[in-house]
Symmetry: C2
């Protein structure tokens, strides 16, 4: 059952399917804005400006009013208003749209999804501005991760879904003996309505795998953006609806649910019996609430955790510091994969230049951080702005705690953004703690806050890292160690705890920039996430093989048929 | 990384992997006892007798005492005592055994699992007696479903697991540019300790997919049998431990947890944080308790539901009745896939001989049932014995309810077993209810109880079947309809509700005998089960790809290394 949109994008899908099983470097969508035309960024800015001070058009059912209060972390009020729809109306519309979408088959659904991705890709520049002025990311980072890399993650999920959906044939002839000869038909069937609860800091990067995994496997999708980051997902939904409509499908297969930011919208809809899949990336409190309450649904929850770094020994001390500083500064620590705690032993760090004491390491890291942020023009490209005032409050709380019971290696300070004077930009806070101060470091302090913990030796560092990551969750574990036995013990820790392990990262390879089609971003084996991303289970949990069987000819009816 | 046991069984694995994607008829293990040698059944009986009045040997840690109170539904006290071990000791032993099993790799684990299956297959006759005298199944049915077919399901899960585990390479070279060149290593890593809570009626058939899916993907497995059906799983665990030991692995990768039948053993262990996977097939109350409480774990829960039959029209009325009677009688309705409710419209059943009224259909079905059970020697081969006195109580309760508010089409009556005078054998109870008596038919009445419901027309039958299956869950939907529009509407119902649909079954193809390697037994899309069986998600949820990455040579260290 071919489909013109699948034919159109077949080469890309084939490459993507090869890439997920090869795990080498592959970027399906160009990562340099210049590849999108000389004026792409300017055009994108104009498109973004056109959304401002206006009503966002979406012809959805059950409109009850309009709302929207986004204010850019760079100080710009967006003043975009979105139609606010009844959750029940969106669910009813989703269910009504489902069966024809299911019956259309794998090729049609995959083709439509690939076309949606192509349109999203063409709009990457516009999306970059929408992301910048909702999440606070720098324009370059917003373009890269929220545009081509987010689209790449959508494609990655689509490739896994296509791989898993096509493992079973549409039809099989089952014959046990002469009288037991059955036709069995199999069809990919969805679990039901899929709800995606958007993230405030990485709305597209987090939502796209879920969107394309759910939609391509037949599930209608309701996207509930974070109230502070509606525009990127509203644009996404509008693009998806447009492609669906053009392809002859019901646009209500993808809808946007926005509501009064103070309302209980997400909690209300998450418990509705028809919601059978929920994807959420965000703070642990709501993630844990979902796990405790939304038991009618399959959950794909990523809440992050306390990603640990162990500094034992290095080939290149300066390169270690530079890499670590970049990771801590990237998007002001507002990535779930940002390192939070750095364990260093009082026996010191082995370097080619000799042993560096743990105290000296703390001073060196603080100094390197200071050097990096002293040029604001360069620094803001990496730091971006702080998405939420709550993050500023977390910085203050961590500072107060550190002043009371620990040390501040480098304080956080406001930074003047060269272009956006009202932007919320603050340098990272670097704290030093003792290994028994669990209340300080065994907690995710989301934002530009990192803690250096002095331990007795590498063994204590490993043990503390293991306990922290097991109890609080973690996506990754960065280990600087040249000693084989430390590496081996670190591998054991990573395996027991279920984190991705990186050794001795230097240069531009940052622990918090997972590579599409190569890296697995979460394991589901510790509290940081309830699922792996992106793998077979991430997509296979969203559908089942529906089966219809019948005798080719009811055996005992043969005589009667002949009698006619 | 080859392994001698995988080499030994490679051909079988290859066939199994081909079979899961082909879905045609394939029985990997011989289904006729004669294929196991002329004296196989006699030898099996002797082996079974040797277990009786004896201590079952298992060298497990944490032994606290011995227990075991199995009594055969055929009246034979087994008097087998099993070591009762502390759950914490078994979990600790499982965790200690895990890492070498993980590191051994896919080939070693798969090979060991295939060898366990081969040994279990060789012991099929002994297992048949163990199953007969714990579950009440007839010897022939116990041999078939609990022996070769259960082993086939284990192999089916193993084939899916092997397929999913081998999608990602062990190593990949990731290169973005000259300085960003990383080695990435991937390894299948388990979620943690896997708990299998055994079923009372189909202990091996239900447990083997979980056992081999969990074990082959690296998870240690603790098997907690139902207190009334310990022996089949104790034998299974002993075989697995023996093979593990012979292959150089820690036998505590598979352990048996038995405890005082009145104790809270299953609930206690199910909530322990180290238990990361739980498989359960059984009554809905405990299944729902697991879903509500064991939230630290991934759940694979099958509780059955109210499987519906719709009788609209037929090519062969007699064949329809015969097939239905066999399905209702098979294992005395003690299969989760047994039909529970039969909807027939007051407009009658269209047959080649003319219209049959709904009342006549009820009488005909009762008569056909009576004809079948009138020969006890033949009947007991299909009925087996009633596993639990609770099922007799359910028959009595249904009878009381029917006498009060509905009609009894054919009462259940004790049947003398020709060989086992003390056997608990009872013929099925057939009730007739009205379409508004939801409290009668919208409930799973596990055992030999079926209800014929008269409806206004085919549309009401379809609507009631849909509501029943959506709310109460169902594994399958059997529709007798020759009319195309009824078939089409039934397909819509099946798709919305997530049940396997069969049209016009006649002859020996029974709705409650799903075919291995062809049929999907559950969808996970309605309350009958939380997962599909056996599919990619069933295995992929049990592992993740653990990742370790490092620069081939830390780029900034090149100079320093050359300096040496």
């Amino acid at each position: 059952m071919p489909h013109p949109l699948l034919d159109k994008h077949r080469a890309l899908l084939d490459q993507a399917q090869a890439a997920i099983t090869r795990r080498t470097h592959w970027s399906p969508y160009a990562e340099n804005p210049r590849n999108y035309g000389e004026t792409a960024l300017d055009d994108g800015e104009k498109a973004f400006e056109a959304y401002r001070d206006a009503q966002f058009y979406l012809d959805q059912p059950g409109v009850q009013g309009r709302c929207g209060e986004e204010i850019s972390p760079y100080g710009l009020p967006l003043n975009v208003s979105y139609p606010s729809c009844s959750a029940d109306a969106l669910i009813a519309a989703a269910k009504a749209a489902m069966l024809p979408w299911v019956r259309a088959g794998i090729a049609a659904r995959t083709g439509v999804c690939l076309e949606i991705l192509a349109r999203l890709n063409a709009g990457s520049a516009e999306m970059a501005y929408a992301l910048m002025h909702t999440t606070g990311q720098s324009l370059a980072f917003a373009f890269l991760t929220g545009g081509p890399q987010a689209q790449g993650r959508g494609l990655e999920a689509l490739a896994w879904a296509h791989q898993e959906m096509t493992q079973v044939p549409a039809q099989a002839e089952w014959q046990r003996n002469v009288s037991q000869r059955l036709e069995k038909r199999f069809m990919v069937a969805p679990q039901g309505v899929s709800l995606i609860i958007g993230s405030a800091t990485q709305p597209t990067w987090n939502a796209y795998p879920a969107l394309f995994a759910s939609l391509s496997t037949g599930n209608p999708v309701i996207v509930k953006p974070h109230p502070t980051a509606v525009l990127p997902l509203a644009i996404t939904v509008a693009v998806a609806r447009q492609v669906l409509k053009e392809s002859g499908f019901d646009a209500n297969l993808v809808t946007l649910l926005v509501a009064d930011p103070d309302g209980p919208a997400a909690r209300d809809i998450a418990l509705k019996p028809d919601i059978r899949l929920i994807d959420y990336a965000g703070a642990p409190d709501f993630g844990n609430w979902l796990i405790d309450n939304a038991r009618q649904s399959r959950l794909f929850v990523e809440t992050g955790g306390v990603n640990c770094v162990l500094v034992d020994s290095t080939y290149d001390y300066k390169a270690l510091l530079k890499n670590l500083v970049l990771s801590l500064c990237l998007d002001s620590g507002q990535l779930r994969a940002t390192p939070r705690v750095i364990f260093v032993s009082r026996e010191g760090v082995q370097t080619p230049e000799g042993l560096i004491s743990d105290e000296q390491f703390g001073r060196d890291l603080a100094f390197a951080l200071g050097k990096f942020v002293e040029d604001p023009t360069r620094a803001v490209e990496v730091l971006g702005a702080i998405q939420s005032p709550a993050t500023l409050a977390r910085i203050q709380a961590a500072r107060d705690l550190a002043e009371a019971i620990a040390d501040i290696l480098r304080d956080s300070e406001p930074l003047n953004h060269p272009q956006w004077p009202a932007a919320r930009v603050h340098t990272p806070l670097l704290i030093r703690a003792a290994s028994d101060q669990h209340n300080l470091f065994m907690e995710e302090r989301f934002g530009p806050i990192a803690i250096v913990v002095s331990t007795a030796n590498a063994a204590e560092s490993l043990a503390l890292a293991e306990t922290t990551m097991r109890e609080k969750g973690a996506l990754n574990f960065l280990v600087h160690a040249t000693r084989a036995h430390v590496q081996q013990l670190a591998e054991d820790v990573a395996l027991r705890v279920g984190v991705s392990l990186s050794f001795n990262l230097t240069g531009a390879v940052l622990i918090n920039q997972p590579a599409g089609f190569a890296d697995f971003h979460a394991s589901g084996a510790n509290p940081a996430a309830s699922c792996g991303m992106i793998d077979a289970a991430f997509v296979a949990n969203r559908f089942y093989f529906s089966q219809v069987q019948q005798h080719y000819l009811p055996p005992s009816s043969i005589d009667w048929v002949v009698d006619l």
